[in-house]
């Protein structure tokens, strides 16, 4: 019970200190809007392209929103040593890091629904399978946040966090099948696509919005969940190895 008091207050503190700050709220709204506008203009095929672009815009919004903020905030707190205060608290490291990442996960989920709301104003979303879309968005948000955590633990400066994030994010965007089908990629690049968590998230989003999943949805969800577990476990191991030396 006492540990949960700490959990909720870490989450609450992060929400107030970072995620609900006006610059981040505007980032959370403007960034998905900008991506949406950009892809619509690029597609040039009017409203017919909305459903086809929506999975990509959702995934990009979640990926960029979560990784950017988490990697920067954790690195910032580590640099300012306020993170030490959390490590000194009598709460298990697993729970502490779940509390620390929960804000970014929520931020990512909210980010994801900005383009969905926009799309709802333009096209009929009656055909969307919400029972697939919502868990897919949540799992993409969790895996992206844990990727942000992995990045945060790997660097020591805030600017390094941003640079290192892009090292993962941009290849992921073009290789995960959101904008180009994986089958159209050069054969030697395809194996790389299948080791990216977003590939399975993108497939689940295509399945929920366009009913065009390439892989079975249970497999997508299982692999996304596995990526979450592995990224979290590796990040915890790295925290113990690098920050509790």
């Amino acid at each position: 019970m006492n540990a949960w008091i700490a959990f909720w207050n870490i989450l609450d503190n992060d929400m107030r200190s970072y995620y609900l700050k006006p610059p981040n709220v505007s980032w959370g709204l403007i960034f998905p809007l900008a991506w949406t506008g950009m892809f619509f203009i690029r597609s040039g095929s009017g409203l017919d392209s909305v459903a086809g672009l929506l999975p990509g815009v959702i995934a990009v919004s979640v990926l960029f929103g979560t990784t950017s903020l988490l990697a920067v905030t954790v690195t910032f707190e580590k640099k300012g040593r306020s993170f030490e205060r959390l490590l000194l608290a009598p709460i298990r490291l697993e729970l502490l890091m779940l509390a620390k990442t929960a804000g970014a996960i929520l931020f990512g989920v909210v980010n994801a629904f900005v383009p969905v709301v926009l799309a709802a104003l333009l096209i009929d979303l009656a055909g969307v399978d919400w029972w697939t879309l919502i868990p897919a968005v949540v799992l993409i948000a969790i895996s992206s946040t844990f990727l942000g955590l992995f990045i945060a633990v790997s660097v020591s400066e805030v600017f390094e966090a941003q640079t290192f994030s892009n090292f993962f994010r941009f290849p992921m965007l073009f290789l995960c099948g959101l904008f180009f089908p994986i089958e159209q990629l050069p054969i030697w690049l395809r194996p790389l696509s299948y080791v990216l968590p977003l590939t399975y998230g993108a497939d689940a989003l295509h399945g929920s919005i366009r009913h065009a999943a390439v892989m079975p949805l249970p497999l997508d969800f299982a692999l996304l969940a596995a990526f979450c577990v592995v990224l979290f476990a590796v990040s915890l191991r790295n925290i113990k190895r690098k920050w509790i030396v």
């Binding site: 008091i5 200190s17 306020s82 205060r85 959390l86 000194l88 009598p90 298990r92 509790i244």
Partner: protein, 353 residues
């Protein structure tokens, strides 16, 4: 579990008389609360801590004294769970920290060497947040935060962001955050480094009050006078090894039977010192600065002949005063580290005792 709030100092910091008089050390022999055995830690080729063994009694104010880089912070990090020892055991209140570090962390408050609270939160919110990390409920942590802000003289700044606090205020709030859950054991890492004299005096008084109320305090410092005033027992640590642990009384006893007189002269103290040593070989003479000479003897020092000698050499003697032997001299003798080097480190960091 956090201790009940009985162990709080009762007086407001504004109200206390900061006389800076040496305090009567407390040492309650009803068991050890910190037991450290053969602790060692390396960073690559650098040996940070080597075979460190000591115990701290319940209710004691234990000083860990040494120059920068001696291994003080590494030791405190291992004791508090921020670092893992390569070898050795740490037991806090009989809890083996390698097996159950989180249980031990319930019992301790930690004030790191830097004020590391959240810059964007107010003083009050920072304290409440720190209370929540120890499981204090909303109403309890708010009441405790208000009490500590009042006690530390920070009530008027409670709503201001931590980033806007002065160094002394930041340090006081950081200490308040360390004791928000009224821990029975408090680790203080260089609590008065880099702050103004008035704030340092207030903080030392607060530490003494906390200890008087029953909190066991583990204090690292490189201010020898601070350790002498506050601590019951002191460990001297140099290059990662403890070279001596004893009570302040026992350490000071080593200076018994020695008589020291300091003369203030116009200039050329080193040359005058050589003249004194030549004329009075039984005396030990040191030029403390260019205008100060310190004469030491196992017998009472006769000032008259020395003043005459100095004046015959053309020196103007403006003062001669008996010096009470200090812990600094004991430290220098035991560790071989010149006090000037310690003072240089103080000057680099800023602040003072």
């Amino acid at each position: 579990m956090p201790q009940s709030h009985d162990a709080r100092p009762s007086a407001r910091m504004d109200d206390v008389e900061c006389s800076e008089a040496p305090r009567q050390p407390r040492m309650i022999n009803d068991g050890f609360v910190i037991e450290v055995t053969d602790l060692a830690k390396r960073f690559g080729d650098v040996v940070a801590v080597d075979s460190v063994t000591f115990t701290v009694h319940r209710g004691e104010l234990f000083g860990f004294l040494g120059p920068n880089g001696a291994g003080k912070t590494t030791t405190i990090n291992m004791l508090t769970g921020l670092a893992r020892p390569d070898v050795g055991t740490i037991r806090i209140a009989r809890i083996d920290c390698s097996e159950n570090p989180k249980a031990a962390q319930h019992l301790m408050g930690v004030v790191p060497d830097e004020s590391n609270l959240y810059p964007e939160l107010s003083g009050f919110d920072n304290l409440c947040f720190c209370g929540s990390l120890y499981g204090l409920r909303k109403r309890d942590r708010a009441a405790r935060a208000r009490e500590l802000l009042d006690q530390f003289g920070l009530a008027d700044a409670a709503g201001r962001k931590f980033a806007g606090y002065s160094k002394g205020m930041k340090r006081k709030l950081t200490i308040a955050a360390g004791i928000i859950h009224a821990p029975p054991i408090l680790f203080l890492d260089e609590p008065t480094t880099g702050i103004d004299v008035a704030s340092a005096r207030q903080i030392r008084q607060l530490i003494a009050d906390l200890n008087a109320a029953g909190t066991t305090v583990f204090l690292t410092t490189h201010y020898i006078e601070e350790a002498e005033r506050l601590c019951g027992r002191i460990a001297f640590i140099v290059k990662g090894r403890i070279v001596r642990i004893d009570t302040v009384d026992a350490l000071m006893h080593e200076t018994d039977g020695r008589h020291v007189v300091q003369f203030a002269v116009s200039d050329s103290a080193a040359e005058l010192c050589a003249a004194i040593t030549g004329a009075f070989p039984q005396l030990r003479c040191n030029a403390v600065s260019d205008t100060a000479i310190r004469v030491e003897s196992p017998e009472p020092v006769r000032v008259g002949p020395l003043v005459r000698l100095l004046e015959d050499r053309g020196a103007e003697v403006s003062e001669a005063r008996k010096i009470r032997p200090s812990l600094e001299e004991v430290f220098v003798r035991i560790t071989g580290i010149e006090s000037a080097a310690m003072k240089q480190e103080k000057a680099k960091i800023g602040g003072g005792v």
